[in-house]
């Protein structure tokens, strides 16, 4: 365009662009806008010097301020760690019972334990700690190894039947399939079922009493109430780890399952195990 075209109505020069007879006026941008625009350019240049920006061959420029988003996260995590430092220190020094007696500390440990539980325990015990056949429900008041705070702490710390830990909880019910015949096993199962008031064959149950007294009472007790010393469960209550009913009981007598839980202190540290114990205790079934 050699010559400026002036719009008749507004007296402003056009840009020469035309769409369907409509011409674009070449109004100047407001000055504050232009200066803001220039300022942003200068700002952007300074920014790319101060912060990581320009791509190089294998990485990008680091920026003179030395900022990195990973460093940011590191700092935030450190700050979070530092913020709970007092609590963590208190948890590591006190026993589980002492932690439970302190309102603030219990609240902290329960929250921390819940987080650790969700990462390490839910795979077997379930997200609500309700367990499943073979994996105990931690909400109820039936405890194979004791439901006092220190008992729970010991169980989590050393595990159950965990070979690598010398102090692990251990019990091993023999496989009675090799000791008793099928009829005896059926009778014993009927007797055990009757102990908890579960419907059972009365005739077989009566016969089973003798089998029970001869083979089972040594660990489970004459009344079937179990013995934690040997990890022998109470057979008179409503809770069945491997399923209730004669068939499930008979199967367990014949060839018992022996569940294994890892020892957690070596993996999570003592503090986290205490927090887990507090959390499990607070699920409501603790003794």
């Amino acid at each position: 365009m050699s010559e400026k075209e002036i719009d008749d109505v507004s007296g402003v020069a056009t840009t020469g662009h035309e769409w369907d007879g409509i011409k674009e006026l070449n109004n100047p941008l407001p000055r504050w806008w232009v200066w803001t625009f220039y300022a942003t350019i200068i700002w952007a240049l300074g920014y790319t010097i101060a912060y990581p920006a320009w791509p190089m061959i294998s990485s990008a420029t680091r920026g003179v301020l030395g900022y990195s988003s990973r460093g940011d996260i590191r700092a935030a995590l450190d700050a979070a760690e530092a913020a709970k430092g007092d609590y963590v220190a208190a948890v590591s020094q006190k026993s589980v019972s002492e932690i439970l007696a302190d309102d603030k500390l219990r609240e902290f440990a329960t929250a921390a334990g819940a987080a650790a539980f969700k990462v390490n325990c839910v795979q077997c015990h379930g997200s609500g700690a309700t367990g499943s056949p073979g994996y105990p429900n931690l909400n109820d008041d039936e405890w194979l190894w004791g439901g006092k705070p220190e008992d729970i702490y010991k169980t989590i710390s050393h595990g159950v039947r965990f070979a690598a830990d010398d102090a692990t909880r251990i019990s091993e019910m023999p496989a009675f399939g090799a000791i008793l015949d099928t009829a005896q096993i059926r009778q014993a199962a009927a007797h055990v079922a009757s102990l908890s008031g579960t419907p059972s064959n009365a005739e077989a149950a009566a016969a089973g009493a003798a089998v029970f007294a001869a083979n089972c009472a040594s660990c489970h007790g004459a009344d079937g109430k179990g013995n934690r010393e040997f990890g022998a469960p109470n057979l008179t209550d409503a809770i069945w780890l491997y399923g209730s009913g004669e068939a499930a009981i008979a199967a367990q007598i014949r060839a018992p399952h022996h569940g294994v839980m890892p020892a957690w202190t070596a993996r999570l540290g003592d503090t986290a195990v205490k927090e887990l114990a507090v959390y499990v205790y607070s699920l409501g079934g603790g003794e």
Binding site: N137, D140, D141, I239, S282
Partner: protein
């Protein structure tokens, strides 16, 4: 009549409206400065009063004390963001009661409709912070630099020691006011006496300094430098308010039906037999206008209806012996009625002789504003809705619970089978003690025969009720386990509902929450 038109003592001012619609500057041109002239009169006095009251409220409110006992702050008005409490004299609001503030906003909305439909843009003219602070800044400017003509001369004069010292004094005073304005704001959010100490010693939170800095900057720039541009270009209010006006709303009006034809030489014009209006074209109304407009061009967007032109014009009318009200608060309906009289129904040009007797008195039968014109269906509806919301809020405020219980049933697990065959349900029970005093609350089970409960961390026998201490003005979260024996569950229908009842035995306040008890299907 000749005597009446003697206008020797009326100064004709050299004033041009810089913001008039016909003379509006293009958006790319620099702002033309406005030098409003001082004026006195009843509206000016009223504006001083409004400024005194509004600024007084703003600056002094945080320093008012209100005794709430040892467990709550004693500041009468306090927005305690850290603890999420809002205190207003005897009222304390928790975040969940924020609907009261929302209700106040609804009231403010309808209040705005009501005020605007009756007295027009009164908010803009008298109480808007922009108007009030510009007025204050103009008073400062006038104090240092003199009135309109002196300021114009000073502005045009080359820089000198005197000009520099006046300018420095003015801007310094503006800045002091701006700092005080920004400073007052933060006292609403913390204990004022403690904060002012911390602020002075540099120990206050950074956000306090940042807030004061930002508000100082906005006050100084908006009130001192931008002034009328904020109203004209930045504020949405004039557009919204203009849409709410109707022909019965009061606006500042130039009554050209008695003012035109205007003449600076009325005597000569009258002698020549020409019609002469009351306006002597002295430009006083233009010179005093803080918005830089000429009200004689009719109602316009820039006009904030501050009514200073009414004061200016009335004093001129007094001097020339005419009735006041050439510029007045008038409704469009009245204006049109009078205009019809003056123009004989639009048949001719304005002839003041139709509305004015020979002695200059206005003729009877002209429309005048009367208070009862404010009462019309529209204002009644606004007032009714406004007061309905107000009464509703008051009712909500007076009958609200200061003690509350909220219950959340555990979702995972929904129930737990215990070794004796009973079923246990877990609940998160939240007790809200909304008064600034410690309380001992008793939580009781109602319904669910045979059930007992226990709460984690509460030393109590398992039973149908327990008591627990709750800190003043705090929420207490409890984990509560309710247990129902096996025989009570068998035979029951679907999930049983029951109530958690919480009671304060000393104040007889109670609240309850309906919860449900879940059990496995096979046990039903």
């Amino acid at each position: 009549m000749t005597a009446l038109l003697d206008q020797t003592d009326v100064e004709t001012l050299d004033a041009t409206a810089v913001n008039a619609a016909t003379r509006r500057q293009p958006l790319y041109a620099p702002r033309k400065k406005i030098f409003p002239k001082a004026v006195s009169g009843s509206f000016r006095r009223f504006k001083w009063l409004v400024m005194l009251v509004t600024l007084g409220i703003y600056y002094l409110t945080p320093w008012l004390r209100w005794d709430r006992g040892p467990y709550a702050p004693d500041q009468a008005v306090l927005v305690d963001l850290a603890n999420r409490r809002f205190y207003f004299f005897f009222i304390e609001i928790w975040p969940q009661e924020f609907f009261i503030v929302a209700g106040l906003l609804v009231m403010a909305g309808f209040g705005l409709f009501l005020v605007t439909s009756t007295v027009g843009r009164a908010w803009c003219g008298y109480t808007c912070p922009q108007t009030v602070w510009v007025d204050l800044f103009l008073a400062v400017e006038r104090f240092f630099e003199g009135d309109r003509n002196a300021r114009i001369r000073l502005d045009q004069a080359p820089m000198s020691a005197r000009k520099l010292s006046l300018r420095v004094a003015k801007h310094a005073t503006w800045l002091v006011i701006a700092v005080a304005t920004g400073g007052a704001w933060i006292f609403y959010f913390a204990d004022a006496p403690a904060l002012v100490r911390d602020f002075a010693t540099g120990e206050a939170a950074p956000v306090a300094y940042i807030t004061v800095a930002v508000l100082t900057a906005t006050t100084y720039v908006f009130g001192g430098l931008m002034r009328e541009q904020v109203c004209t270009y930045m504020c949405p209010w004039p557009r919204i308010q203009a849409a709410m006006l109707d022909e019965s709303s009061l606006t500042v009006t130039y009554n050209d039906w008695r003012g035109e034809p205007r003449s600076r030489h009325a005597k000569k014009a009258a002698a020549a037999g020409q019609p002469v209006g009351d306006c002597v074209d002295c430009n006083a109304c233009v010179a005093v206008c803080p918005m830089g407009i000429d009200i004689r061009e009719g109602q316009q967007l820039e006009c904030i209806t501050c009514a200073l032109c009414i004061d200016a014009c009335d004093s001129v009318m007094d001097k020339i012996g005419r009735e006041r009200g050439l510029i007045s608060y008038a409704t469009l309906a009245d204006y049109n009625a009078n205009m019809a009289v003056a123009t004989a129904g639009g048949a001719t040009a304005i002839d003041p002789a139709r509305v004015r007797a020979n002695d200059g008195r206005l003729l009877p039968g002209l429309a005048h504003f009367h208070l009862k014109k404010l009462f019309r269906p529209r204002t009644f509806v606004y007032f009714a809705v406004w007061s309905l919301v107000g009464v509703g809020l008051l009712y909500a405020l007076l009958t609200r619970d200061r003690l509350e219980v909220n219950v959340l049933h555990d979702r995972n697990p929904q129930y737990v089978l215990l070794s004796d065959g009973s079923i246990r349900n877990g609940y998160t029970v939240k007790l809200l003690n909304k008064i600034p005093e410690p309380r001992t609350l008793v939580v009781t089970l109602e319904g669910l025969e045979g059930a007992t409960m226990s709460a984690l961390g509460v030393e109590a026998e398992e039973g149908r009720s327990f008591s627990v201490a709750v800190e003043p003005d705090r929420l207490k979260t409890l984990k509560v386990y309710v247990r129902q024996p096996a025989e009570a569950i068998a035979g029951a229908g679907a999930a049983e509902s029951f109530r958690f009842v919480v009671a304060d035995k000393s104040s007889f306040e109670t609240d309850s929450y309906v919860a449900s008890f879940e059990a496995p299907e096979s046990r039903r």
